[in-house]
Symmetry: C2
Subunit: 350 residues, 2 copies
DNA sequence: TTGTAAGCGTTATCAC
DNA sequence: GTGATAACGCTTACAA
């Protein structure tokens, strides 16, 4: 059996043959063509084109030990994965930036605690060069995993225990990108104060997420001795916001402003206020957080809210990660962290 | 340089050495262990455990020509990617089913027309075994691409031109999974009729998506000679629904019911109706489509809507695709299509 | 500047 | 049953 018809996809060998060069030279051209005479570069490029050659990814990975892929791990046991516009935008930012670097996005959704075994095996299997993760809960097993197997990882949102003294960790402290939640919250509350509001309530997020606790801290920074009755806990969903709002109205019927820890909860609160006949912003001023698309602007009235550049944060996570993956970089293996600024967007609700 | 310290991750070779067998036997055990004496199986398993061996994916792919990964292509130029709860749930279904089959999900977001070159290169590069795609617009280049490179693909939602006579296509007609949009729409409209509504309007989705046109067709099936003024076009977003609702109210102030082609538009319509002082369902009955989580149920009043099993559809797409990937299957390379049933969920809005 | 050749870690085809 | 050994397609010293 000689003289076989060109069976599957063309290989580098075929390209080299057609261009009349060695496989090595063909490889050089495919990878940029530095140090190859223009003459040959053209020949090889032509061969690539006629043959429709596309490099075999597995073969390349096998030798370079680089996969050109990054895992995006979304560990959110709750129903809100993806439905939350926050994730959507961050993913979009991540996707764009990865694409710009010719890197693929492998999505790993974690639904159950038991999924972590699978995640660890996957990450350890050399399928990806690095990982991006979100929504770390205080007892999340992920950091231990990525650390153990030495997988460079950047987190979205400040982890709950980043302050731990952990100098012995293989790659230093965790790296993350987060918005200035505390500062943003302060600005929101100060704004309400400046508008003459006196009984400013807060609908907080789940206490095991730093984005929630940081916003609560910001609220407290301004209202140092606020009545604890003015604080109710939600879960970042509209329904949770509605429940919290009902509670607050019960406990403090005279409140004249609400700062909700995210826009979704703010919309829930809005519904309850309307039901109870409180006008917004007349009787009660309402400020959200996120400036979530399809939510903040289209609420009635449109939400005054704290904007964070979610897409930009996604892009930043990628840049941090890829930089740490580059052996030539000084920052090799230590991604570092970044806090991005927020800004208050004033609309109709406050 | 002999006597090297166990440098990187352990290889099959190392496992074999430790277990005192050949690499071939070790490989057999790792891949199920059929035809190997229990005695040796145990030894190899033990070695795998102590060494923390994880197979190298690239090496395996190189020889088996199977990547164990599937691309999920989301080609939605609009802002609603992911923010739309519909996608979220379908992705969840897909993710769960892929996980159950030990297959990875590679996410490819298409934002611009120019992205298709990249997508084609990626698919042709042998990174994935098959593809799943959504939201096909009438002139979408994707089917031509997947067909050209022979990539098994299952679509979410009926493509616009599936009816074309295309027997010559390499792998037969496109395969897809879709809900019974037309039947569901009929049921919704019939329900409104049965409740005594007489001026039933429709807020349609974008005419280049079959889910929208199929629902419109269902509406027309029941209301054969409905006044064209009763039909307004939206874009599947709340804002679009609001605009359409305003138009309808302008043109047909006496309408007493609205069937919106999705829940998001229904919520937009709801806001406008409320603003205009029309009670729901008193003055105007409102029915949506999707039974979108965090949307339908939490609307005020909660939305009567047509439910489709979105997550189930996602799972089904995966099953169809994986079946077509299995060379042992009779259905090899021809995924086939499925239409899943819908059901009317009656809540407060109609 | 170009070619030769040695792997990268697996699976698969053979003999044994 | 088990073990050599030849691919798989590519990159990269090293030699020329």
């Amino acid at each position: 059996m000689t003289e076989q018809v060109p069976a599957g996809r063309p290989t580098l060998e075929a390209v080299a043959a057609r261009a009349g060069v060695s496989r090595a030279t063909a490889s050089r051209v495919v990878n940029g063509g530095d140090g190859v005479r223009a003459h040959l570069v053209d020949k090889v490029r032509a061969a690539v084109l006629d043959l429709g050659y596309v490099p075999n990814h597995a073969a390349r990975t096998l030798v370079t030990r680089r996969t050109g892929a990054v895992a995006v791990i979304i560990a959110e046991p709750e129903i809100r994965i993806f439905s939350d516009p926050f994730f959507s935008r961050q993913i979009r930012g991540i996707s764009k930036e990865l694409t710009a670097h010719d890197t693929q996005l492998v999505l790993l959704l974690v639904e159950h605690r038991g999924d972590y075994g699978r995640i660890e095996r996957y990450l350890a299997g050399g399928h990806v060069d690095g990982a991006l993760a979100f929504s770390l809960h205080t007892d999340d097993p992920l950091p231990a995993i990525t650390r153990r197997i030495g997988m460079p990882t950047v987190y979205g949102g400040r982890p709950g225990w980043t302050g731990q003294a952990d100098g012995a960790a293989p790659y230093g402290p965790l790296s993350y990108v987060d918005a200035d939640n505390r500062g943003g919250a302060r600005e929101a509350v100060r704004y309400l104060v400046s508008r003459g509001r006196r009984q400013i309530a807060h609908i907080a997020g789940p206490p095991d997420q730093t984005s929630a606790t940081d916003r609560l801290d910001g609220y407290r920074d301004v209202l140092v001795d606020a009545d604890p009755a003015l604080i109710a806990e939600g879960d970042f969903t509209p329904a949770g916001g509605a429940r919290a709002m009902a509670e607050l109205l019960e406990r403090c019927p005279d409140l004249d402003a609400v700062f909700a820890a995210n826009d979704l909860m703010a919309t829930g609160a809005l519904g309850v206020l309307r039901e109870r006949g409180r006008s917004v912003p007349g009787d009660v001023a309402l400020v959200g957080f996120d400036d979530a698309e399809l939510v903040a602007e289209s609420a009635v009235p449109p939400l005054t809210t704290v904007r964070q550049d979610i897409e930009g944060m996604g892009r930043l996570m990628v840049r941090l990660l890829l930089r740490s993956l580059d052996p030539a970089q000084e920052s090799h293996r230590v991604p570092g962290s970044v806090i991005t600024p927020t800004s208050l967007v004033v609309r109709g609700s406050a």
